[in-house]
């Protein structure tokens, strides 16, 4: 690259062409700009309060490593007085985490931050290797994703921390937006772009029912994170899970990569579009994530924002997921066309007011009516009682006159309560993790490790 002066300090030679702005900078000016922008994300949304204890979800990969380093730097520079701690989860997959865990340990030393490592084995009694040995490779990602979500929250509780930060970057959020568009998942579309999400528990409760999760690197390009890590000589180890499938996220990832090649700033545009669309989702109120006002914690469920070396908290295997959704949608379309669905207007809360997307796919009798896609529920897993289908089949007249009200009915509100076994936030009586564990434990005689709530 021909010698150019840094466009910021105008003295040193520019070594870097920033993908996000196209501006040429020398390394120190770049790292400073990166840090300052992250600081802006944090301060403009009042993400932290002084003296807050923050757990950094550290996987050993580039994103969390950079996050830890930047937060440490900013904490000192601006005297935020934050208590930072590194939290790492060991899924128990031989040969996968070992290297990245070593990287995390090294980082903890270099940054001088305390580190807590929690394993699935000690949390749930099952390592991922054991789970896969039991259930095979189909649906194993469901276990991992669900366990990991809870693991971070549980780890936070153990540490007495109410706020976890993760290294999700703009590329991740953009992929999530595209993925949710492909899956037709309006609810997650509304939530995936939030800067902060919470488990919705009220502040007064202890335990892991009230942990909030945020992503300060949300506006940072994946490429710039790599560049930052390189110039600060940060030590990380990226891993791709050996069990990881592709499915929707893989397709979305390819698209984003191609998009980036054509026009790098499109990644941020996708994120912005996602935030805008979130506001347009009926009934789901997306208040969060605009980055320019105080953000409220949006309730999230156990399947939100997976990622980080793995693509599927909703785990099916590869083309399997897309094919299954395709199948379901097609059956829905066919049923609608043939009028095999009865138009019964039930209140929007459907059968018993809960989101039924936790259970595995129920296949009823082939002639049974399947809920039409207008219901706004997750289509790749749904349950239905064989006789009743909630199908607002709208004629043109109805559409025109009742558009807004019909739209509001489409997303049944999630009622968030607590799991009766462990107290974790759930819209079901028993949370997904406990259910999965029950299944695992039943199938194999083991001393059942009952997961009770951390009790504060």
């Amino acid at each position: 690259m021909p010698p150019h002066p840094c466009e910021s300090c105008h003295t040193s030679r520019a070594q870097i062409l920033r993908p996000s702005t196209g501006i040429r900078l020398c390394a120190p000016c770049f790292t400073l700009a990166f840090e300052t922008e992250t600081a802006a994300t944090i301060t403009s949304s009042s993400l932290f309060h002084p003296g807050e204890r923050i757990a950094i979800g550290a996987s050993g990969g580039k994103d969390s490593t950079v996050l830890a380093s930047v937060l440490q730097t900013l904490n000192t520079r601006y005297s935020w007085g934050l208590e930072l701690v590194l939290l790492s989860i060991d899924e128990g997959i031989a040969g996968y985490r070992d290297h990245s865990l070593e990287a995390v340990k090294r980082n903890a030393e270099v940054l001088g931050l305390p580190l807590k490592i929690l394993g699935y084995e000690e949390l749930y009694g099952w390592s991922m290797d054991a789970v896969v040995a039991q259930v095979g490779r189909k649906g194993n990602c469901t276990y991992c994703g669900v366990f990991r979500r809870q693991a971070l929250d549980r780890g936070a509780a153990v540490l007495g921390v109410r706020h976890v930060v993760t290294g999700h970057n703009a590329d991740d959020v953009a992929e999530t937006v595209v993925m949710n568009l492909l899956r037709g998942d309006l609810a997650r579309l509304g939530r995936g772009t939030s800067l902060v999400t919470g488990t919705g528990g009220t502040g007064g409760e202890g335990g892991f029912a009230s942990v909030k999760r945020s992503k300060p690197l949300m506006w940072a390009y994946g490429k710039e994170i790599v560049m930052y890590a390189h110039h600060k000589r940060l030590d990380y180890f990226s891993t791709e899970c050996i069990y990881s499938p592709e499915a929707f996220r893989g397709s979305a990832r390819t698209l984003i990569k191609n998009l980036e090649r054509i026009r790098p700033e499109s990644i941020l545009d996708v994120v912005r579009s996602g935030i805008d669309m979130a506001r347009l989702v009926p009934g789901a109120g997306g208040e969060g994530g605009s980055g320019s006002q105080r953000v409220e914690a949006i309730p999230r469920d156990a399947e939100d924002d997976t990622g980080g070396g793995c693509s599927g908290g909703n785990g099916e295997d590869a083309g399997g997921e897309m094919a299954r959704v395709e199948e379901t949608l097609r059956l829905n379309e066919r049923a609608e066309e043939e009028g095999t669905e009865t138009e019964i207007r039930l209140p929007a809360k459907a059968v018993n007011g809960q989101r039924h997307d936790r259970d595995g796919l129920h296949t009823g009798p082939p002639a049974a009516a399947l809920p039409a896609t207008v219901n706004g529920q997750n289509h790749d897993r749904h349950t239905h009682t064989p006789d009743i289908a909630v199908v607002p089949i709208r004629t043109k007249q109805e559409k025109k006159s009742g558009r807004k009200t019909a739209g509001d009915k489409l997303l049944p509100r999630q009622r968030l309560g607590q799991c009766e076994r462990c107290g974790y936030l759930s819209s079901q009586a028993v949370c997904k993790a406990c259910m999965l564990l029950e299944g695992l434990n039943k199938a194999r005689p083991r001393t059942g490790i009952e997961v009770r709530g951390a009790g504060g």
Partner: protein, 363 residues
Amino acid sequence: MAGPPKTRRDNVAVDNSLCRRCQTNAPTITVRTEPLCSACFNKYVSTKIIKRMESFRVRHAEVGQERLLLLPLSLRACSIVLLHILSQHLRVQGEKSGRTGYRLHVLYVEDGKGEASEASKLYELIQHRYPEHTYSTRPLSDALALPGMQELLIQNQPAATIPLDLSTILTTLTSATSRTDLHHHLLRKLVLHSAQSHTCSAILWASSTTRLAERTLAETAKGRAFALPAQTRDGEAQLGTGTAFYYPMRDLLRKEVLSYTSLVSPDLEELILDERPRPAVSTRDTSIDELMRQYFSSVEREYPSIVANVVRTTGKLLVERVEEGWLEGRCELCDVGLRGRAPERSRLCFGCIRVLQTREAGG
């Protein structure tokens, strides 16, 4: 056997070697895993379109005051098929009740792309084949004569003088994305203007499911997703003009439309403008719209319902309401609400500012 099984509840064994619907003829095409014969397929296509024309049924029309609808003709498969099926529909309406529920005005916009002579030949052929409608043509450059357009575009062309011409503008735009985008917006504005000058109450766009899905993702990638519900929802009046957009082809995949052109008789293939071969792989010079087109043409092959689902999902999003009469609050190019999406006192949204940029780095 008492006729074809109407529902799946009839436990009649389905003969897979015959058309799934009529169980009489041999299938000629597989539509979303169902084998269909040509007749049933043609019916499938027509039904999907006519279903979307609910508001224009005869019973909703006053005698002698049928609404005039504008059909922009691009000479590509989708608009030809739409014209064909609607012509048929009008004929049937006339036969059944002696009058029609609407009238069509066909608009052909010459965009200076491709073979002008071949295009005008096809255009004449079409007028000959469907003489019952009224027709008009306009060159795309007319869009530059619309109020405010010259001032808007001259901002980025320091060396040029008014009046700007289309080819100058397009060549100074740096990216394929910008060119495609500007082209799209000029077309939209021109069609809207024409609809108003011909007193058409609605515009019938021929976009297929696939095309709408492409647009959804392309606009998302350009940061303009918020505009989608307003611009792609059926019956949504545009920019306080009273002219609504409709997309009667929104339930059909592009590949289904293409198949129709050869399976209907007489076939429509001779009426369609040949397209330049599209690049198979995206390069840096590809536009975002082209990228999405490539993406969805592959998704369409294996997961057609997912394509439809993308469109359905965006259809469920609420339309953003900008205060009535607050025209100052709209981007002058893409017509979306400016609040929160544009710099202070700018007449363009961030997305459009970028489209019209002529500097080098970053396109």
